[in-house]
């Protein structure tokens, strides 16, 4: 392998109090919270729009409510503001989730892109789209600045605190903070190319239920006429009449050879997966048209902007959430959010595994799970937070990402304002702040 080292002069984008890398559900909430808390904040996003998985891949927020007999709300704060704006635009609907993850809020993701922009811009946060972090400068266990790829080449940006909300723990990777590669110890969750379908006859589609839908999918696969690797894929209504959204495809997300793990952070693997996902999506479309009532005259309207990635790198933080924590609904003194979602494992094979918490219970998300090891001024929020494969499979929903993001941004603003290290801020003051901002830190029955 040849290595080429080069140097070039790089212009600065400016100095900030807080830089948030990655503008998905976690990153946007972190940036809003930091900026509202008085920190000069820069939000960097590699896509030309905000939202990450919420706008590039999916169209349903899960995690706001617990599943089970009683639906209890476990996430508030900025998440509530987002949903309120979606409602005001009449761009969402509530959907009792047939898969048992609790009530979902299905939205028009194009509206959500605009809503995220509205929300961030009014906080005074600086936003840069099409800006992809490529390197972190580290000195004495602190990140001092980032190198960002833009259309004008590389730029630098400096700050006192950094929040890694890249989903893939890119900042941790660049800064040398420890992480686990999904696929290294446990099988990594599979990849899914989502797609939206236009011109579905909703009434006809609803003439068959979930079981019949899955039966037909399994039969179509068995017959050999269709190549359908996942037999439990789902489709659902959207706020647009006649449009359905799907979560059906299943693409292998990792491989181990010669002691080396490759997953969706590997450029070649990801390229093959993107191509395979779209190919597979068209195959599922063919199945829907031929085998599912209501889909006769329907067709693909849009693929997800990118393939949906469930896990890649999970950091080793000051605390690491475990499967036992989740299933026993463990509570922590420093919890900054809650999760009531079951462990939802999209593993290799035809089905999906679900394991539930006790009914009406929720596990706490400790602040320590957002603190990256080895790097003093780095917070992590969103799906790359510190958890085992199993715990992550419960806590990675977008509502939890928002709660973690708001907590990270609030903590960052506190540390800036009080001139403290992240590890020395007063956690009970942080929790009081979050409560005053509408966060839910304990299940309210």
């Amino acid at each position: 392998m040849s290595v080429r080292v080069f140097s070039t002069s790089v212009k600065s984008l400016g100095e900030f109090d807080v830089i948030v890398a990655g503008a998905g559900s976690a990153g946007i909430c972190a940036a809003i919270a930091a900026a509202r808390g008085g920190a000069r904040t820069l939000l960097l996003e590699r896509h030309p729009f905000l939202g990450g998985t919420s706008t590039a891949v999916l169209d349903t927020f899960y995690g706001f409510y617990t599943p089970g007999a009683r639906s209890l709300k476990v996430v508030g704060g900025i998440g509530d503001d987002v949903v309120a704006r979606l409602r005001e635009y009449r761009a969402c609907l509530e959907r009792p989730n047939t898969y048992g993850a609790g009530t979902g809020i299905t939205y028009n993701s194009e509206y959500l892109k605009v809503i995220w922009e509205e929300m961030v811009q009014h906080t005074g946060c600086t936003v840069l789209l099409n800006a992809w972090v490529q390197q972190a400068d580290v000195a004495q266990d602190r990140i001092t600045g980032l190198i960002v790829a833009t259309r004008q080449g590389l730029k630098s940006a400096e700050a006192r605190i950094f929040v890694d909300t890249t989903g893939d723990a890119d900042l941790c990777f660049f800064a040398g903070a420890p992480y686990e590669l999904a696929g290294e110890h446990d099988p990594a969750q599979m990849l899914t190319t989502t797609f939206k379908v236009a011109n579905v006859n909703t009434e006809l589609r609803q003439s068959i239920d979930k079981e019949e839908f899955h039966r037909r999918m399994a039969e179509a696969a068995r017959s050999g006429r269709f190549n359908l690797p996942r037999r439990e894929g789902s489709d659902h209504i959207t706020p647009i009449p006649g449009m359905y959204a799907t979560n059906m495809t299943r693409v292998q997300s990792f491989g181990n050879s010669n002691g080396e793990t490759r997953n969706a952070t590997d450029p070649t693997l990801l390229t093959c997966a993107e191509i395979e996902g779209r190919r597979q999506a068209l195959e599922y479309m063919r199945f829907l048209r031929e085998c599912i009532p209501g889909y006769e005259d329907a067709d693909v309207a849009a693929f997800g902007t990118q393939i949906g990635v469930r896990e890649t790198r999970r950091i080793y933080g000051e605390y690491r959430m475990t499967r036992e924590d989740v299933l026993s609904a463990k509570q922590f003194d420093d919890q900054i959010g809650l999760c009531g979602a079951p462990i939802e494992d999209h593993h290799e094979g035809e089905d999906t595994h679900w394991q539930y918490l006790p009914d009406g219970a929720a596990v706490g998300i400790p602040f320590r799970a957002l603190l990256a090891k080895r790097v003093e001024n780095l917070l992590v929020a969103g799906r790359c937070f510190s958890a085992s494969h199993d715990a992550h499979a419960s806590v990675r929903s977008m509502a939890q990402c928002m709660a973690m993001g708001e907590a990270a941004g609030t903590a960052a603003a506190m540390a800036i304002h009080e001139r403290k290290e992240l590890r020395s801020i007063d956690i009970s003051a942080l929790r009081d702040s979050l409560l005053s901002l509408g966060a839910i830190l304990q299940v309210q029955r």
Binding site: R36, D81, E88, D432
Partner: protein
């Protein structure tokens, strides 16, 4: 109301008043709130002025029966300064579908900022047209409900924080029976609104002094207005709280008001104790309990004039 004044000119001030509550949804639902007479208000304000009073902080924000013409008339006629708020009150004072439900924080903030910088709407933001008076709002009034700040209230508080950062305007809050005051303080602290310019009202409804100590420690200004509400024979908790706070060095964080939002409290409407009460009756009670003239001066003059001063605005 009639233009900016230097803080030093404010003089003796009542910090949370209702001088005019004109016909509106609020007075339709709560007819006992209707305070629509300039003449009746002037009867009591004459007593207030005779007792040395110079400044009144009205506390009804947008859409709740504010009448800027009448307030200006009172101010001119009685030669008292009146501060009039912009802001939004509790949901129950508005008809269902009110704009405060629908608009986002940045839109609400813009409405506040325009009343602070350009002038209060003659139509009380009840539409359909906005007609700006020459009278600019001097504070923002927000509110939270019993034991919690609900999402609507939080949105309005967010708007108030945004407007503060643009204009430097002080903020006056309503608490329901004195509750959720710590949440309010923490909210504004997190939003970097300087807490000495956040006046949290009605906290004397919670007699627990420990609660007040915790509130004082955040740096907020507390407004007590139940001095005349405790029944005869009942402990006057307002009196006790003021005495304890002054004793412990928190005398710089208290302001007093009447919050006389009912006809039956006004001499002008045939009720009692009338607006002279705090100066004519309550101040002597405080002196009797050991407060000095300097303490009284702080509570009625220095504290309100410093709390209701505009700060420099970082985002102006």
């Amino acid at each position: 109301m009639l233009g900016d004044i230097p803080a030093a000119e404010a003089g003796i001030c009542y910090a949370h008043e209702h001088l005019i509550l004109d016909r509106s949804f609020a007075t339709f639902v709560h007819p006992e709130f209707l305070l629509d007479s300039v003449a009746a208000a002037c009867v009591d304000i004459e007593e207030f002025r005779a007792a040395g009073g110079r400044t009144l902080v009205d506390s009804m924000p947008c859409g709740g029966g504010r009448n800027v013409r009448k307030l200006a008339e009172i101010s001119r006629r009685m030669r008292v300064h009146i501060l009039c708020p912009t802001g939004v009150h509790l949901e129950l004072y508005y008809a269902p579908g009110h704009w405060s439900e629908r608009l986002y924080e940045e839109q609400i903030a813009a409405l506040f900022i325009e009343e602070i910088e350009d002038g209060i709407d003659y139509a009380d933001y009840n539409g359909p047209r906005v007609e700006r008076s020459p009278h600019r709002a001097g504070l923002i009034k927000v509110a939270s409900s019993l034991n919690q700040i609900n999402p609507r209230e939080r949105k309005i508080m967010e708007a108030a924080a945004m407007a503060h950062h643009v204009t430097g305007v002080p903020i006056l809050t309503h608490t329901e029976k004195g509750t959720a005051a710590l949440d309010q303080a923490r909210f504004f602290q997190q939003r970097r609104v300087p807490l000495p310019h956040v006046v949290i009202s009605h906290t004397d409804r919670v007699p627990d002094y420990g609660y007040h100590r915790e509130l004082f420690s955040t740096g907020v200004m507390l407004e007590y207005d139940s001095a005349f509400r405790w029944e005869t024979g009942e402990t006057n908790h307002t009196l006790d709280l003021v005495v304890s706070a002054v004793r412990d060095g928190f005398g710089g964080q208290i302001v007093l008001g009447m919050d006389a939002a009912r006809r039956r409290y006004w001499h002008g409407y045939g009720g009692a104790p009338g607006m002279g009460f705090l100066l004519n009756d309550f101040a002597p009670m405080l002196i009797e309990r050991g407060l000095t003239a300097a303490d009284i001066h702080r509570i009625f003059v220095e504290n309100p004039s410093s709390a209701y001063q505009f700060t420099s605005a970082p985002n102006a």
